[in-house]
């Protein structure tokens, strides 16, 4: 039986009826068509489905949609504004931090949560913050450099 939830996604309020066994990632992708959140493993082990839940990055594939009731969610689609890409997104573009792009949404959101809390992290802080987000393409280095460039104020938008 479906359950009605109220949830804020990217500052927009939704009232949705969801099956209890629907995961949050499926709700975002299938109900709201926000397909920027990716499904890489289904078991909370790769970070591709990272979203911000009340500001904190979590794996949306191991969270039930019904549990998002009265919570605030930000997905990758919530970062871009009418002015353009978010500085973190811009840094990822400019520093070559994106190859296949499948981990990018999660990486960017984990980086955002870090920078929101610690505007000037050191390299180890950055690596720790993205340690739940697997990337098979880049070797992480250009991702770390991108995050560093934002914290050092190289990026503005």
């Amino acid at each position: 039986m479906k359950i009605v939830i109220n949830v804020t996604v990217n500052q927009k309020n939704y009232e949705l009826a969801v099956e209890p066994n629907m995961t949050l990632v499926d709700m975002l992708r299938e109900e709201l068509r926000l397909t920027g959140t990716k499904k890489g493993c289904g078991l909370g082990e790769c970070g591709a489905c990272t979203i911000l839940l009340d500001g904190q990055p979590v794996s949306s594939c191991v969270m039930l949609a019904v549990e998002a009731h009265n919570r605030k969610i930000v997905t990758i689609e919530g970062l871009e504004t009418e002015k353009g890409l978010h500085p973190i997104q811009q840094a990822f573009v400019e520093k070559g931090a994106i190859q296949c792009g499948f981990c990018t949404s999660g990486m960017v959101l984990s980086a955002k949560a870090l920078l929101d809390d610690h505007p000037h992290p050191d390299e180890q802080d950055i690596r720790k913050a993205i340690s739940g987000n697997l990337c098979r393409c880049t070797g992480y280095q250009k991702i770390v450099e991108a995050v560093q460039s934002v914290s050092e104020g190289e990026q503005t938008s």
């Binding site: 190859q99 296949c100 792009g101």
Partner: protein, 791 residues
């Protein structure tokens, strides 16, 4: 500064903004109206005869639209190489590994499809399991495929020179055996597809693939369709690394189900299915006997190899050849003998993975060369200088080095890493090691024997003259090929990068063999360059004709027409262009003539300007059996230095520094080249330290997930110092050749050699888990203690 306005720069990738913002669409992001969802029944047993398949309960489930088995699919055999087609769409007589496909369902949603699959009843008669090459090669072992006696999928016997005679003349001869474990490519995006058979009888397959071309052929062949009626479209792909380089059963199943139902059918693998589909690195056991002279000259290599292939051939016939032929470089070696067997077992099929066939052989040999260097009292760097090939050399197995920056690579990593300062001075538990690598820049021949062009490219200028549109069937899978080709188009045409649009990954756009064997930059790049030059020539010819000058008096650069002679006036052309574009911003009077104006003129004179290019390698390779595998229009090479730390009490290894130099011929995009190097090193690090697909006694995979199949996290991977070496490859576009796979070659052996420096122990088995390292340290300590006791 280079002479180029676009290439050799660090231009941001053209796909990056869409990927950064979450807008880039991957296969699972696509949905079609009225689509059905498919699910596949996969074998729960590793080796069994199928007695009976009963689909009646599944068919009765509400919401089920079609159930198919081998009866519906037919028994057309397919695979990667026509010489080893050993798969059928569904199993009909027996299953050969846990995961083998038996039947499939299309239903209104995923849940129903999965429920229906669980209602298919299959009666099996279990057969003896062959879970190792030893069991499979044993006299009298049951056959996994009736047509392959001894369960030998493929064997290779090659000899160049006279190895036995040469070894007899050597001052030092050393034999070592080395092995790895089965690997998984572990890309982040699971394979998925949508098959859509439309009312006009055309089949369109959207798929997460590296090779739309081969998939198109395989789908057409198995489903008995004309190739021209099958179109394969590749959306953005979340990594491939080899496992997505051939057609998989899901792709054909989705098409078949769509043909049965008349509706689009979507399927996406779970991560477990990705692991079961496998097709990653084989388990290799290499036995290498190398002979050298006192002065350090490596003379001969006797090489035996056994590959555990799993249940099907996949790329295996190429793998087994590559594992031998790629040791032909980067060293001068006069005598080489190679004997190898690829063996079937009841496990998922192995195939190609970054550095196809060569990675473990390279690891084994580079470590052995270090041992020989040490025994001869030579520095590993000097030893390699002594033996490396140069520009213009040909290996004993007929591989020709048309460009070869090996020396520059070794010098670069030696100097940047502080090798001379650190080597031999680090305390116990810390180590530094180096190794070299070597790889093809595209295979000399397609997988099927054919005289086909390996790629075609089309550059169409927009009729207003302001934009160029490149059509290529090549596959952007994350490596950055779309950007590379956009940059080549911009440079060759003489327009800014932002005037180039790329459409790729669609068999409707031409022929391209796809993203494998590190071929696209050289091969597709060559075709793209020619297509753009063709379009430019057409524009310049019209312009020259109008201005009554010679084509050789004009050039185009960064969007501007450059007149080589003085006093050429183009006012009439500009006025004509302006007249048609009232309301737009015009070029100011004193601005030079733009390419857009010239291209518009060309359209008005002769219609749509379409430039075409194609590429086919020159004839390559020797006359011996298997000469085709390993031939390439060009070869990349690389060198690497690794520094690491070992916790001598627990065996845990921490990689602290990696310095990597790669000769990519010429870097079209410097950032992308570095990205390929850094990513290759990550995969090499993972394979060296952590990665292993494990099985139990029943052939069940124990770790088909990212929790237990451990790829490196951001905390395991150090920063890499990447050094780009440019040797200017004569057969590559602007001198470019590979970087995507060759860069992984030196990583594992450099780690092994550094580990020896740290511990004094040579390891002959991967991965270097803490337990394996700890046990070896403990054994060594026990031996040392016993030694002291004896004294």
């Amino acid at each position: 500064m280079t002479q180029y306005h676009t290439i050799n720069s660090r231009a941001p990738r053209i796909d990056a903004p869409d990927k950064a913002s979450g807008k880039a669409q991957f296969i699972d992001d696509l949905n079609m109206s009225d689509q059905l969802h498919g699910a596949i029944l996969q074998s729960p047993l590793a080796h069994a005869r199928i007695v009976k398949i009963d689909t009646s309960r599944a068919r009765k489930l509400p919401g089920v639209k079609a159930v198919v088995t081998a009866e519906d699919a037919g028994l057309v055999q397919y695979g990667v190489s026509p010489a080893r087609y050993d798969e059928t769409l569904f199993c009909h007589d027996k299953v050969r590994y846990i995961g083998d496909e038996i039947a499939a369902v299309a239903a209104v949603d995923r849940e129903t499809a999965l429920a229906a699959v669980s209602l298919i009843d299959v009666e099996y008669e279990e057969l003896p399991l062959l879970l190792s090459v030893e069991e499979a090669m044993k006299e009298g072992a049951p056959l996994i495929h009736e047509d392959y006696p001894g369960n030998i999928c493929a064997e290779v016997h090659q000899e160049f020179g006279d190895v036995e005679a040469a070894l007899a003349e050597c001052d030092i001869v050393r034999t070592d055996t080395f092995m790895n474990k089965m690997q998984n490519c572990a890309f982040l995006e699971p394979q998925g597809c949508i098959g859509h058979y439309d009312h006009r009888g055309y089949l369109t397959l959207y798929s997460s693939t590296q090779t739309p071309h081969y998939v198109q052929r395989t789908v057409a062949m198995t489903l008995k369709m004309p190739i021209g009626k099958v179109r394969v479209v590749k959306p953005y792909v979340g990594g491939g690394f080899g496992a997505k380089a051939s057609a998989n059963a899901m792709e054909m199943v989705a098409c078949l189900l769509s043909m049965k139902t008349g509706k689009p059918v979507k399927m996406v693998f779970t991560r477990e299915q990705v692991f079961l589909q496998a097709r990653g690195r084989h388990k290799f056991v290499h036995t290498l006997t190398t002979g050298a002279k006192k002065d350090g000259t490596v003379v001969a290599l006797k090489h035996n190899c056994i590959l555990e292939g799993g249940a099907y051939a996949s790329f295996g016939i190429a793998t087994v050849y590559y594992a031998g032929s790629l040791l032909g470089g980067p060293y001068k070696l006069q005598h080489m003998k190679y004997d190898a067997y690829r063996v079937y077992t009841n496990k998922p099929a192995c195939g190609a993975q970054r550095g196809h066939g060569g990675v473990i052989a390279r690891a084994a040999w580079e470590q052995q060369l270090d041992v020989i260097a040490e025994e001869l009292g030579m520095d590993p760097v000097e030893f390699r200088f002594k033996n490396m090939m140069n520009n213009g050399d040909t290996s004993c197995n007929d591989l020709y080095m048309s460009s070869f920056g090996m020396r520059e690579c070794v010098e670069a990593v030696r100097d940047k890493s502080g090798w001379e300062r650190k080597r031999g001075t680090l305390p116990r538990g810390k180590g530094i090691g180096m190794a070299c690598g070597f790889f093809v820049s595209g295979a000399g021949f397609p997988i099927y024997r054919s005289e086909t062009f390996h790629c075609t490219a089309t550059v169409k200028l927009s009729e207003d003259g302001g934009a160029a549109h490149l059509y290529t069937a090549s596959a952007e899978i994350g490596q950055g090929s779309d950007t590379t080709f956009a940059m080549i188009t911009a440079e060759a045409l003489g327009v800014p990068l932002n005037a180039v649009k790329v459409s790729s990954g669609d068999t409707d756009f031409g022929v391209d063999l796809g993203a494998y064997s590190s071929r696209q930059t050289l091969m597709t790049g060559f075709a793209v360059k020619h297509a753009a030059e063709d379009a430019k020539r057409q524009v310049l010819e019209v312009l020259a004709d109008k201005l009554r000058i010679s084509v050789s008096d004009i050039d185009v650069k960064d969007g501007t027409v450059i007149f080589k002679g003085p006093g050429i006036t183009f006012r009439t052309i500009r006025n004509r262009y302006r007249k048609e574009h009232r309301g737009w911003t015009d070029m100011p009077d004193d601005a030079p003539l733009s390419f857009a104006e010239a291209a518009r003129l060309a359209f008005i004179v002769k219609g749509t300007v379409i430039g075409q290019g194609e590429y086919r390698p020159r004839w390559l390779g020797g006359k011996f059996k298997g000469a085709a595998v390993g031939t390439s229009p060009a070869y990349g090479c690389s060198a690497q230095v690794v520094e690491l730390r070992v916790d001598m009490e627990t065996g845990q290894i921490t990689i602290d520094n990696m310095t990597d130099a790669h000769d990519c011929g010429f870097a079209i995009n410097r950032t992308s080249v570095e990205g390929q190097m850094q990513g290759s090193l990550l995969m090499g690090l993972g394979e060296a330290l952590f990665e292993e697909v494990k099985f139990d006694q029943k052939g069940r995979m124990l770790n088909p997930n990212f929790g237990e199949y451990k790829i490196p996290t951001a905390l395991d991977m150090p920063n890499v110092t990447p050094i780009i070496v440019e040797s200017n490859e004569p057969y590559g576009p602007y001198g470019a050749k590979e970087v995507g796979e060759g860069a992984i070659m030196p990583t594992i052996p450099a780690i092994l050699n550094a580990l020896y420096d740290a511990t004094g122990i040579r390891f002959h088995e991967l991965p270097l888990t803490p337990e394996r390292v700890y046990k070896a340290i403990k054994e060594k300590q026990c031996e040392a203690k016993a030694e002291r006791g004896r004294k």
